[in-house]
Amino acid sequence: MRRKLYEIIGWGILYGCAGITASLLLFLIGYILFRGIGGISWQFLSTAESVIQGTVGILPAIQNTVFVIVVSLVVSIPLGVGAAVYLTEYARNRRFVAAIEFASETLAGIPSIIYALVGVILFCTALKLQKTLLAGSLTLVIMILPTIIRSTQESLKTVPQSYREGALGLGSGKWHMIRTVVLPSSVDGIVTGCILAVGRVVGESAVLMYTAGMSMAMQNFSLDRMASASGATLTVALYHYAKENADFSVAFSIATILLILTVLINFSASFLGRRLKRS
């Protein structure tokens, strides 16, 4: 009898907790779409905020987000892939490998508000970049580096040893072997890492709020002005509208866009991950 009761309660708890998790997500999605989707229009996406016309637009935030993604990836991909190549292909000294892996794990565990502080001290103040998108992007480089290192490393490890031996046996040098055989066959993993990194950049707000500014005005991205562009990305814009302007319908519309981006990013990362596993 007691055993039966235990069974019933146990299964109840299992289904109950899974149900809580699932309904949380459904509620979040439903609520955000319900409050946000009405405010999204072509004009909302393609113009800047205009006080004179009384219209709200988030084009500057979209442009700033794209700028931050591009700059941080351009800097961190070579660094991260290079570090992963060193770890899997070149490193002989065990201690050294352990130190690099420990460093990368430590970076992955540091919360973003600490990165924000470091960005303010290091990039904005010490390197005199001021509050600019550039300073924000460079801070994010440190943050996404572990993601790129790890997923590149994972996929480099799946490249069969025989490929390497074959290339070396045919007389190729080590660098030539890496460039023509190892890297091309692990490109899936590198791309997955980049997608995950994009996900982190899109979702990041604390760092960018303090290093990249909160302006919602159009930026000038021409080459000579690029370094001094400063403004809000989508997440920072959401915070700005919700907390400072108390304009919740705009905030929920931005949340809807962020939600759609998250779904896209998750979907493409898991799709690529599955392809990686199969090969």
Partner: protein
């Protein structure tokens, strides 16, 4: 070429060193000026009175994290057992992407929903003057740590050898008894790692709780407006004068938070290492 790759590898180490050195260097002046004891155990944080004691911030961070763990871990653990062992395959395949979607939602979005749904609901349910409170922050944090607890525990549970479970069921235990008495204990270090990771997530979160916790540096109580270590930094960082004691005190708060995180990370590595050895 090798030199170049070595340099890339060194960059990560360099970043960690730079971060540590900068945080320590910029965190120490304010502690020197205020005094270590009054800084850590002072009960008043007020920029207008030039008083910077962070005891309320430390306690709030500890209480908030503990609360989130108490709520989030059981739900996360049972969901992980469900996903790894009990769920019909199709249901599991539906639930898994949902969990990773929860993990991917930006923290400001959690903050926004908390602000618009949870805070008014708490105000009405508990008849408070304002719903911005430690309780609201705990609930938001519990939801935010859920995905990492679920996915890490699930991985640990799935790594339990099938033979253990088969042996248990062959001896007449039901499925449920097997999950809780055989699989879960066998995966305990992985689950412990999940909990430690959750603690790290919760103590480091800033933006979402900044939107729901009210941000007044009170001593923590469930229904009071509170300020965490993280939000203590974030709420004043944009308004503090460069070079002022206030700004330097913020860096010191950052240093304290950094030490907390390093402690948790060291603990996490210990747990993971033990798991690898087992």
């Amino acid at each position: 070429m090798q030199v170049l790759f070595t340099l890339c590898g060194l960059v990560a180490v360099g970043f960690v060193l730079v971060i540590t050195v900068y945080l320590v260097l910029s965190g120490i002046p304010a502690i020197r000026e205020i005094g270590l004891f009054p800084f850590l155990f002072g009960k008043t944080w007020s920029a207008s009175q030039d008083q910077y004691g962070i005891l309320p911030l430390i306690l709030t961070s500890i209480y908030g994290t503990a609360g989130a763990i108490v709520i989030g871990v059981p739900i996360g653990f049972f969901t992980a057992v469900f996903l790894a062992k009990a769920a019909p395959k199709r249901l599991a395949n539906l639930l898994r992407p949902a969990v990773s979607l929860l993990a991917g939602i930006p923290s400001v979005v959690y903050g926004l929903v908390g602000m618009c749904v949870l805070v008014p609901a708490l105000r009405n349910a508990l008849h408070l003057p304002a719903g911005d409170s430690l309780l609201a922050a705990i609930l938001v944090l519990a939801v935010m740590i859920l995905p990492s607890i679920i996915s890490l525990s699930e991985t640990a549970l799935e790594a339990v050898p099938k033979e253990y479970e088969e042996a248990s069921m062959a001896l007449g235990a039901t499925k449920l008894e097997t999950y809780f008495r055989i699989s879960a204990p066998a995966a305990k270090s992985g689950i412990a790692a999940a909990v430690v990771l959750g603690i790290g997530r919760a103590i480091g979160e800033a933006m979402a709780i900044m939107m729901v916790a009210g941000n007044v540096a009170n001593m923590p109580a469930l229904t009071r407006s509170v300020r965490f270590l993280t939000t203590g930094i974030s709420i004043e960082l944009n308004y503090s004068q460069d070079g002022s004691l206030q700004r330097q005190a913020l860096f010191s708060v950052g240093l304290v938070l950094f030490l907390f995180i390093m402690l948790i990370n060291a603990f996490l590595n210990l747990v993971l290492k033990r798991e690898k050895e087992a």
